[in-house]
């Protein structure tokens, strides 16, 4: 029963208020099973898109691919599988925060996340929250946030999933995941590996993608233990290792490679009282890289950052309809590497959130946060959001926030150039959303947003010193429109599901009075799937408009993927799923970063065993 409830909750994140008693029990359950309660609870006025298991499994284990085909985010990918950074609502690579089970995991060294160093294999769901989220998620949550969640399941079960795949360009992948639970325990463990030569043909030439081979290993282990009726203890651990050659461009050969390792561990104690809940988290994050200019030599430069974090979230129900949360955290961060002299940072933050359900139709949240960071002054940030249900099919949503991005260790301490006088980047933004639910089968979301960012940190040449310095110099404006449509249709045993998203994004570099680089004015994606008993077929389409680059532009393109799967022995204890997929069926030549062509048409076959 709990499990069913849990899935219902996942599917309807903005579910309309039910009777008060059930809300209480649901909220208490959330504390136990969810890893990121804030994501569900304090976001009434934000657009949240949840990608569940079935969507995640359609794009291999690459987070870049999953989001490219299922969200408005544009990815600057340096060739397939290489370093990949996000542009969310036209913001830059360090203005999208990635949140792992409630914790911001953007690199302390460069502020970014390489979306090809996150595997989707071992998460229950991935959510995309559009809009500013610094109050709740800290630095870099300007365009939006991407949430990776491992949730707990305390029902009695044990499920295994084994997946083996092979595809073009000598791509091999294997993953295994086990999930288990009983009344006291829950756990899941997963391992996922991919290894590929990635030597796709460059369309229109006789050349291949040179020096593009890579392999990635992802390990996950999550455990939950019910200590008492009121206390739950949870452990999360994730380790990602990647060894990638850096592919050549059309004009520059490469012989280099990049090894990265990330370790993320968290211990959480959740306590559910009569009218309060408390969650205490202790977290350790480690990121490190080795860059080999010549992959055949044992000669590399390296960098490493470690974060120790303690976070406490206390929530008190002031009345039946009002809750107050206080979140405090302290972190200690150190870095080392060839270009730093052991920098350290102490950071403390305090956040207050008021959550009020004014009526069954109207809800709002008010948030305020202050950071105290050892190496610079940080602004007071705030956010407010509301949702108002005007009628049965229509809900109005609105949010406004001030957000920030702190200077990274590279910005402050890189030798030469690091600038200790930097201040955090700031943004002010708002977002107006409309949601329609028609006949339970159609869901339409329409959002308009405006973002103004200031004091953007950019590295500029310094005529005095002859080297480059980061300075708070640029300002930018972003505004646009997003449409998201979901349609579900059942005709007897035939199920059709259509999801389509379109975004229009205008940007302006205020200083230069020109659009920002690498932001498509238009981006659209759609996925259509059809299911009949054991058979499923699906088609994904991505349209990306032209983007401006330094001194020119990159052409827009259309890419389509087609796949089908068949489930054998669907009702038995052991079932097999055979999945065949053709990526880039139209054999489109396209680049997401100049001179770095993406793969031509390619094939992939997967066998999944569930028992």
């Amino acid at each position: 029963m709990i499990r069913i409830l849990f899935f219902v909750l996942l599917l309807c994140c903005y579910s309309v208020a039910k009777a008060q008693t059930s809300i209480d029990s649901i909220q208490r359950l959330d504390e136990v099973v969810l890893s990121d309660v804030k994501l569900k609870r304090y976001n009434e006025g934000y657009k949240l898109t949840v990608l569940n298991d079935s969507i995640l499994r359609k794009n291999g284990n690459s987070l870049t691919d999953v989001l490219r085909f299922n969200s408005n985010i544009y990815f600057k990918e340096n060739g397939y599988g290489m370093v990949s950074s996000a542009s969310f609502r036209g913001t830059n690579a360090s203005q999208t925060a990635v949140i792992w089970n409630g914790i911001n995991i953007n690199s302390q060294l460069n502020g970014q996340v390489d979306f090809n160093t996150i595997s989707t294999a071992n998460y229950n769901n991935i959510s995309i929250r559009s809009g500013g989220g610094s109050v709740q998620y800290g630095s870099g949550a300007i365009g939006g946030t991407v949430h990776l969640s491992n949730d707990s399941d305390f029902t009695k079960h044990i499920n295994h999933r084994l997946q083996l795949g092979y595809g073009s360009f000598e791509t091999e992948n294997a993953s295994y995941n086990v999930s288990f639970g009983n009344n006291n325990w829950s756990g899941n463990a997963g391992v996922s590996y991919v290894n590929t030569e990635n030597d796709y043909r460059i369309l229109g030439t006789d050349e291949k993608n040179e020096n593009g081979a890579f392999n990635n290993l992802d390990l996950n282990l999550n455990l939950g233990y019910v200590l008492s009726q009121k206390d739950v203890l949870k452990v999360y651990h994730q380790n990602f290792r990647s060894d990638r050659a850096f592919s050549s461009t059309l004009l520059a050969p490469s012989n280099s490679k990049y090894e990265t390792e990330d370790y993320r561990s968290m211990l959480e104690w959740a306590h559910v009282g009569d009218n309060f809940t408390s969650s205490l988290k202790a977290v350790h994050l480690l990121e490190q890289f080795k860059y080999f200019e010549n992959k055949d030599l044992n000669n590399y430069s390296k960098g490493q950052a470690k974060t120790w974090l303690v976070k406490h979230h206390y929530k008190r129900n002031v009345s039946k309809n009002m809750a107050l949360s206080v979140i405090t955290d302290y972190s200690y961060i150190t870095a080392e590497g060839n270009s730093y002299v052991d920098p350290k940072r102490n950071a403390f933050s305090a956040t207050a959130i008021l959550n009020h359900q004014f009526s069954s139709k109207f809800r709002y949240n008010l948030n305020v946060r202050k950071d105290v960071i050892s190496d610079f002054k940080s602004p007071l940030v705030f956010a407010g959001d509301l949702s108002y249900k005007l009628g049965e099919p229509y809900t109005l949503k609105f949010n406004a926030s001030k957000n920030f991005r702190v200077p990274t260790f590279n910005d402050l301490y890189w030798n030469p150039g690091g600038n200790l006088d930097l201040e955090p980047e700031e943004s002010f933004q708002f977002d107006l959303g409309h949601q329609f639910k028609i006949l339970k089968s159609i869901q339409l979301k329409l959002n308009t947003f405006y973002i103004e960012t200031s004091d953007l940190i950019q590295w500029r040449p310094n005529a005095e010193t002859n080297y480059w310095n980061p300075v708070n110099i640029a300002n930018a404006k972003h505004y646009g429109l997003e449409v998201e449509l979901g349609y579900l249709k059942q005709i007897h045993a035939h199920y059709f599901n259509l999801v389509a998203a379109y975004s229009y994004t205008e940007t302006e570099d205020v200083e230069k009075n020109q659009p920002l680089y690498y932001v498509p004015l238009h981006k659209g994606n759609t996925a259509l799937s059809y299911n009949f008993k054991s058979f499923t077929a699906y088609y994904q389409h991505l349209f990306t408009g032209e983007v401006d680059i330094i001194g020119g532009s990159l052409n827009g393109y259309d890419v389509g993927n087609l796949g089908c799967s068949y489930e054998l022995n669907a009702t038995g204890k052991l079932n097999y799923i055979l999945d065949l997929k053709v990526n880039n069926i139209y054999n489109t030549y396209y680049e997401n970063v100049a001179l770095r062509p993406m793969p031509n048409r390619n094939f992939n076959i997967q066998l999944t065993l569930k028992f």
Partner: protein
Amino acid sequence: MISKKLALLFLSMTLLLTSCNNDDDDTTTESLGDYDNGLLITNEGNFGQGNASITFASYDLSVVENNVFNAVNSRALGDTAQSITFNGDLAYIVLNVSNSIEVVNRYTLQSVATINTVLNNPRHIAFANGKGYVTNWGDGGVATDDFLAIIDASTNTIETQTISVDEGPEKVIANGNTVYVAHQGGYGQNNIVSVINAATDAVSTTVTVGDVPNSLRLDSNGDLWVLAGGTPSWTGNETGGKLSKIDGSDYSVTSIDFAGTEHPSFLALENGTLYYYLSGSVYKMDADDTALPTTAELNGLNFYGMEVKDNVLYGVDAIDYTSNGMILSYSLSSNEETNFATTGIIPGGVYFN
């Protein structure tokens, strides 16, 4: 009207000077192609982004054509245009990140050959004894793999045999069969000039100069002028620049030191006068002077490269390194800016064709 007059003035000056010019450049007044009688400018472009280009400009900057290599050859030039060296009718464009050299007709920019083997982080070329000597850093992070690659100038093929040299070979210049290589230091810092015998292709000696030598000029006596920028402050071991003259016969060195925090660059030499760039200003001195000038000729500049010809100083400004740059010209008689024009991205080198 004024610019027309100036153009005429420049044209007449050019004619006057080319007629009594004893450079080994081919100097005929008849145009040999679209890009004869003017400047070629290398625009480095952004590292790794393959947007290097060549700009052609008339000497008075009234006629400017960007992206000329691409226009003539219908393909992209490459990644990070480092330098151009002329040899006979050919121009050799070194593309650092592409690890290649585009050999083109210097007047038409028509591609003749592409050299893309052996090279590893190529920087500059000088020609001697029928061969082109290409400085290469090797892997930037490795101090012991630096070398000179050798091009057979008659076939434009590269020899597999290379000359191993000290860390960070950069600028290179030849006088007869003597090839001088300034070791700027690559990603690090070095302080020597290697002397190579083009008859034997062996390093005959090394001469110690200032730290981080960035420019070389030969004078009419066959002596070599070396300007060293000094070690930058971020290393924690800052040294000032040094101007040195290496005697062409016995390699003895005479030097003038800059102050400990002064880092000069872009040495130019014309008719016994030296010019250099320091902290946004251009200074000039007589080659016989024993002390550095104290007042600048030009101020408020932001140069990424600089050359002097016919008493005109050409400077290139990379501006913010992500937009098109500029070339500016200054009269060295009046010290006034005479003209400017837009170039490609990150203009770095100015070459007189």
